[in-house]
């Protein structure tokens, strides 16, 4: 074999000032934020886009529409607990719901790779129909494109969701304030670790299944029980609970304090994370609702969530504080504390 030619430095530090897109730009961490800030907002930015929310609320006559769009790329396409179609419907419905909207319609665009099994496609499409029916929304427009083998990972799906906003319900990322209580609707880290376990071929004592779920029923329950007391709603997907809380801490200019002992992390998720050297706080969820609630409404909100099977394990995980504004700090189970920051890029597994 011929020797490699190595002509010395080809790019200079700092490393994140790269001239090409890296996988870390899609992690939901600091690199993703920088990509949007430096390459999209200067050109496309406007009143709506600049709010950097999951979707936008736009006035049409005297009604207000909630519009949200999301693209889904996941490997493997099918995994324990769901498939790419479940994510594509639930993910966009949830984004509309987190803005305070009642989802009504969906559109879907499919990019299919040459060679994709039609059985797989049928299963995904059937799942999407089932999920949409269950949520009472209609899929009203769609598009398909096919690309050559090797140009897409089986299939990619983009969905857009449209809903109507309830005039009295205004959750938003900038509304958290000191004293508010941070709630989650259930176990953390299941979706991300279900995918990792399949990819890494890890056999655990019990299989981890994705938590993918439609969260609109939980939002409806919260709205009925504590409408004006709900400051912020989020479904902590890519980047996990840690990234979602960091964004809200910055948008609201408040500090967040999490209680490690209170975090509902299932034993099998914790074990898989330990084994793979990952932090469950940054692992994606697809069926967890996080709510920041005024303290006087926290109990009512919790009780409401627990009446639904998807919220049966709802619990308080932390509080909004005036100390350390814009930072999320975890009180460790052992009594110490540490900063829970946005990650620069993807989580990288540890060496040993």
């Amino acid at each position: 074999m011929t020797a490699i030619r190595y002509d010395g430095p080809a790019c200079a530090l700092p490393l994140t000032d790269t001239q090409r897109v890296q996988l870390g730009h899609g992690s939901g961490g600091k690199m993703s934020a920088a990509l949007i800030r430096d390459h999209f907002l200067p050109v496309l930015g406007n009143h709506y886009l600049s709010q950097l929310a999951d979707g936008a609320v736009v006035p049409i006559g005297n009604r207000r529409l909630v519009v949200s769009t999301d693209s889904f790329v996941v490997s493997p396409l099918e995994f324990p607990g769901g498939n790419i179609g479940t994510l594509a419907v639930h993910g966009t419905l949830n984004d509309v719901a987190m803005m305070g909207g009642d989802p009504l319609y969906l559109t879907a665009g499919f990019v299919l790779e040459e060679g994709l099994s039609l059985d797989v496609l049928d299963r995904v499409v059937r799942t999407m129909g089932h999920c949409a029916d269950e949520a009472g929304v209609q899929l009203i427009a769609g598009d398909t494109k096919v690309v050559e083998r090797g140009k897409a990972d089986g299939m990619f799906i983009n969905t857009t969701g449209i809903g109507l906003l309830d005039a009295t319900f205004h959750p938003g990322p900038a509304r958290a304030r000191e004293g508010d209580v941070i709630l989650v609707s259930g176990a953390l880290g299941r979706h991300g670790m279900a995918i990792m376990a399949v990819r890494e071929g890890l056999a655990f004592e019990s299989t981890i299944t994705s938590d993918t779920a439609n969260l609109t029923p939980l939002v409806a329950l919260l709205r009925a029980a504590a409408s004006e007391g709900i400051a912020t709603l989020r479904d902590p997907t890519r980047g996990g609970l840690a990234s979602a809380l960091n964004e809200i801490a910055q948008a609201s200019n408040v500090g967040m304090e999490l209680d490690e002992a209170a975090l509902p992390i299932p034993a099998e998720v914790a074990a898989a994370c330990e084994m793979l050297g990952l932090d469950p706080l940054y692992v994606a969820n697809e069926g967890v609702l996080m709510a920041i609630v005024r303290p006087e409404k926290a109990e009512a909100a919790l009780e409401a969530l627990r009446t639904h099977p998807a919220g049966a394990e709802a619990c308080v995980v932390g509080r909004v504080v005036s100390d350390h504004p814009r930072y999320v700090v975890l009180r460790t189970a052992i009594g110490g504390s540490r900063v829970v920051d946005l990650l620069p890029g993807d989580q990288l597994p540890r060496i040993c």
Binding site: M1, T16, Q22, G277, G336, V339
Partner: protein
């Protein structure tokens, strides 16, 4: 969870902290050797809970941090090669070389894959016979047996398209180098439990005797580390300097002889450069002559790649324990995990990253006597 929450029990932790505080008649200076221990200390806030009863200096036991720049540059060159699938443990991917990191090489078209085991890399080579698969064999004695096993199996099976880029180091020479340094402040060591699970602790007995320094083989969970600290403080208070074993559930005095045999069969000792520290004699593991066919440096003629470390990075002082990360003038300003000057800011085991991620919020440590 079994075997996890037991070692993170807050009540037992408080008891151990109180015992350390009441046992220590002065502020002893301890070094935890392993980067995994550094992360537990900072991530769980143990240093904060101890309230300054003892000073912890963070040791050089982060395999990612001490891998010399030159080896990183060789990795980058290999990963950029069109015929090569470069495989590595995850946390090597963001370590800056002279020019860029492995993630950037991947974005420019290089093939870089994260593996959890060198045997997975060997599997990949067998499945992909038209490509060269190179594994980045880094780490201390902990990762050496598995890496040795991959090379040994590749030779047994005659896999022609598998090779390793080796940057292995061993712990005892680094501890001796720290103790020999004129500005050494370390009074006792918490030795790395996983290294000792492989090697045992007989190598440490002459070090403890010669330098009159207590060495406690210690695990990685919060209660392990607190117990290790207490055992070290008890030795210091009673004037003893022995090798003791806190990590009894994993470590025996003789270690794991089959693993040691395999390492000796595949590797020999040699001088090795440590990033930020310099060359330490007989501190590295190199492939033996009979495994030279599997040496990526030879197969791809990488001998011409040399690299200078950036002058502003004080990684050497941090790795030797002479500088707390927060005392580095570049910390958190010109050096952050997004724009690292050196590996300790990148690796999940690196002391700088541990402070940046978990503790930068707290008041900076008081200025220590920094060696010039």
């Amino acid at each position: 969870m079994r075997f996890l929450s037991e070692y993170r029990d807050p009540v037992l932790a408080r008891t151990l902290i109180q015992r350390i505080q009441t046992t220590a008649s002065r502020r002893w200076t301890l070094m935890e050797v392993c980067g995994g221990q550094t992360h537990t200390i900072v991530r769980q806030g143990l240093d904060e809970l101890l309230g300054g009863a003892i000073e912890m200096i963070h040791g050089p036991g982060c395999p990612v941090c001490v891998t010399p720049l030159e080896q990183i540059d060789k990795a980058l060159a290999l990963a950029a090669h069109p015929e090569v699938i470069f495989t590595s443990f995850g946390d090597m991917l963001r370590v800056p070389g002279s020019s860029c990191d492995l993630l950037q090489v991947r974005a420019r078209g290089g093939t870089v894959r994260v593996v959890y085991s060198p045997l997975d890399a060997l599997e990949l080579a067998i499945r992909t016979p038209d490509k060269q698969v190179v594994f980045f064999a880094v780490g201390f004695e902990t990762t050496a047996p598995a890496n040795a096993m991959a090379v040994w199996r590749a030779r047994q099976l005659g896999v022609p398209n598998f090779s390793v880029l080796v940057s292995h180091v061993t712990v005892p020479p680094a501890m001796t180098a720290i103790l020999d340094s004129p500005d050494n402040r370390v009074q006792a060591f918490l030795a790395a439990g996983h290294v000792c699970a492989v090697m045992g602790w007989t190598e440490y007995e002459p070090i403890a005797a010669r330098y009159r320094v207590p060495i406690v083989v210690t695990g990685f969970e919060p209660l392990d580390i607190l117990e290790g600290m207490l055992m070290a403080v008890q030795q210091l208070e009673s004037g003893r300097h022995e090798v003791e074993n806190q990590y009894v559930r994993s470590v025996r005095r003789e270690g794991t002889p089959p693993a040691q045999d395999l390492v000796r069969q595949v590797f020999r000792l040699g001088d090795r450069q440590w990033r930020g520290i310099g060359t330490i004699p007989a501190s590295g593991l190199m492939l033996r002559e009979e495994y030279a066919d599997f040496d990526a440096e030879i197969r791809f003629s990488l001998g011409h790649i040399h690299a200078e470390e950036p002058a502003e990075c004080r990684a050497g002082d941090v790795l030797r324990g002479n500088l707390k990360p927060t005392q580095c003038p570049a910390f958190g300003t010109r050096c952050t995990p997004e724009k690292p000057l050196g590996a300790p800011m990148v690796s999940s085991e690196g002391a700088c990253a541990a402070y940046y991620n978990y503790a930068r919020f707290r008041a900076p440590a008081p200025a220590a006597e920094v060696a010039s």
